[in-house]
Symmetry: C2
Subunit: 406 residues, 2 copies
């Protein structure tokens, strides 16, 4: 057995054990440990940064930084997650099938999750916390560029977990060839969470039968309706692009109703904010930069049609004072996030109040949009009877079910 | 463009249109149409049965029959589904992110679903009804053995739908080479539902990137605890096997606590019911027949361990009068169904009160166990602001979020 497979086996055992433990205490201990070992973590991060200075692109380099403000956010996030009610075992619904035969649908974890990520070492404590809160075990595979920081974070978390004799619940995977191996272990790993470039996510989706939670493209739209307020249009268009141009929730195409009276003013304001405009071209392109494709549309229908055709079902926003148009947009655009008079940049787990996120999903099954604890859970059915058998409910004298929601 | 791809494109357009329609009326019309065309359906079924008489195995032949009782169940199921509240657009939760900035998590359909099935033509109206109730479009690909019946059912449904100008929402796929083609259209199809043999399900899982909702193996267990009541043990063990030996919810292995005093009596009763016992062998095997593997275990831990190792996470039951043992079993066995003093044969969408089922899932994401309307749905986030931008909540004078559940 390879070391990676042995790790996955241990993670599976830890997953079972985790179900019988106080998971809230684990989270508080990890938050405390990260705080008290902050210096060691920063020192490790300094090593990675020094090595990366000349080799990494600016956005990746920025994501590699783990400084006091970022660590504080991470620790605050873990405390927030620790303060949540434990979701494991929560009853979703109860149905009486017959007298004395009760069916409960109950929240459960998914199992062993593998997270594969580049740069951003803050992913380690965030995903660890979300996984533990939801009762899952997790294998974390980071990039070489963050190796020292990831190792330091992993050690702090492992030490905290080992005080509860559950150190295998969160493991760093660091042997060679491990990504391909992780992706092949569909008997042990129940979900893969990639965090990184589109190419990386797509390549993972191609190579595994395990469900992948993530998004490849983030092609978001803002539609300025005929009845838009100019001030809101300007604020939202600029914020949606400039707040983080390389993030997946940045707007890539601005759709403007042909009858919107102040369209020239709007475009001038965008240019004034340093945004390069590509008029009537590059639809569906994710620029990851201060560039915006702009298209004039005849009406709301054409805007919706455009988004269906070119969008990636991530996040799309309408700016309008017309409630009927907004309502149609919110109902008929079927992206993970549909917004009315708000910046696409709100598509984020922290901003949604999830404490943290494992990522943003553009899948159409299991979980969509920013994914927190809830997206790491599934359910099982518990049926409690008193000797009930199916034959009673079959054939000529079949007893009817009550199917009463209780 | 091939005909199958053209069908999928039309299904996608129908899916969009379906969102703006009264889906309850569609369901009632389909139920009425099935009733008034019953004779044509039975005649078509007679053709399939005549052709299959000498070629099909007995279980498949039985599943091919669509007679008055089966059609009545189908129509009753559709009426039950029509009577449900429309789930599309139902608000799951609402969070205030800040004053005037409201986030709603709203139920939505998944999109275009492809159902691939063998024999059992009753799948056509059942899956059509579940898909329409949940606002999805569906492509149905049945086996050659049921071609006449499927065609007759498809025509009745299409005629009903075309009266609402939405006939593309449910389509039979009948060109050649269509399964491989369906499985490759991950840009148009969002979920595949296979209904058939283990081999068929597994082969589909191997060949597509589209999420597959289904189960390959149904290896269910009944554990007779030391503190079991003999009467219940006998009833449940026999029913779990004999009610439908070839169904996926049939028990395959009986685990008996070594200290259960009446174990010989229990085994005698099973043999008396025509069940062949394989003592201490064939663990994890799905017999699909009146055969049962039997193992003596030392204690509850060994039973749980056995199920984790050999089970398929389908449905497992404990028979005991000891509440603490039952509680542990229900919590620590992490199958889709965990039962206490009830037959594994209850694992079924009708019995659970779902009206019908698209199948039983042993997946660990999206949906588990018998899957009805709920398993064909996902959600989107609607964010309603008034010109809100993300920059307000960033940096030195960052405004805090309220994150208040409303």
């Amino acid at each position: 057995m390879t070391e990676t497979r042995a790790q996955a086996e241990r993670a599976r055992q830890a997953y079972f054990k985790l179900q019988t433990m106080d998971r809230t205490a684990l989270l508080h201990d990890i938050a405390d440990a990260l705080r008290s070992h902050a210096d060691a973590i920063f020192a490790a991060n300094a090593k990675d940064l020094a090595a990366a200075k000349d080799t990494l692109s600016r956005p990746l380099y920025k994501r590699l930084i783990l400084d006091e403000p970022k660590l504080r956010d991470v620790i605050d996030g873990i405390r927030q997650i620790a303060a949540m009610d434990d979701p494991v075992g929560r009853i979703i619904e109860t149905t009486e099938l017959d007298e004395g035969l009760i069916l409960k649908k109950v929240k459960t974890p998914i199992g062993v999750i593998a997270a594969i990520f580049e740069s951003r070492p803050d992913v380690v404590p965030q995903i660890a916390a979300l996984a533990l809160r939801s009762g899952n075990a997790v294998l974390l595979k980071g990039g070489r560029e963050a190796a020292h920081t990831n190792f330091a974070l992993g050690k702090v978390i492992q030490d905290a977990l080992s005080r509860h004799d559950i150190s295998d619940a969160v493991q760093l995977v660091s042997s060679r060839e491990e990504v391909a191996e992780l992706l092949g272990m569909d008997d042990l790993i129940s979900m893969v969470v990639p965090r990184g470039s589109n190419e990386m996510v797509r390549s993972i989706q191609e190579r595994t039968k395990i469900p992948v939670l993530g998004h490849a493209d983030g092609v978001c739209h803002v539609f300025i309706d005929e009845h838009a307020d100019l001030g809101k249009a300007v604020r939202i268009a600029i914020d949606s692009k400039t707040a983080a141009p390389s993030a997946c929730n940045a707007v890539e195409t601005l759709l403007i109703h042909r009858n919107f009276p102040q369209k020239d003013k709007l475009l001038d304001e965008l240019k004034g904010s340093g945004v390069e405009l590509h008029i009537e071209s590059d639809f569906g392109k994710e620029f990851l930069d201060l560039i915006l494709s702009v298209r004039m549309v005849e009406n709301l229908d054409e805007a919706i049609e455009h988004i269906r055709r070119y969008g990636s079902s991530h996040t799309d926003s309408i700016v309008t004072e017309n409630a009927a148009n907004a309502e149609r947009f919110l109902n008929e655009v079927d992206s993970a996030g549909v917004y009315w008079n708000a910046s696409t940049h709100f598509a984020d787990g922290f901003r949604y109040g999830l404490g943290a996120e494992v990522g943003i999903s553009t899948n159409r099954t299991h979980a969509r949009g920013p994914v927190g604890v809830d997206g790491l859970m599934i359910y099982k059915y518990q049926l409690i009877g008193n000797g009930h058998i199916a034959a009673t409910y079959k054939g000529q004298n079949a007893r009817p079910f009550t199917h009463r929601r209780v």
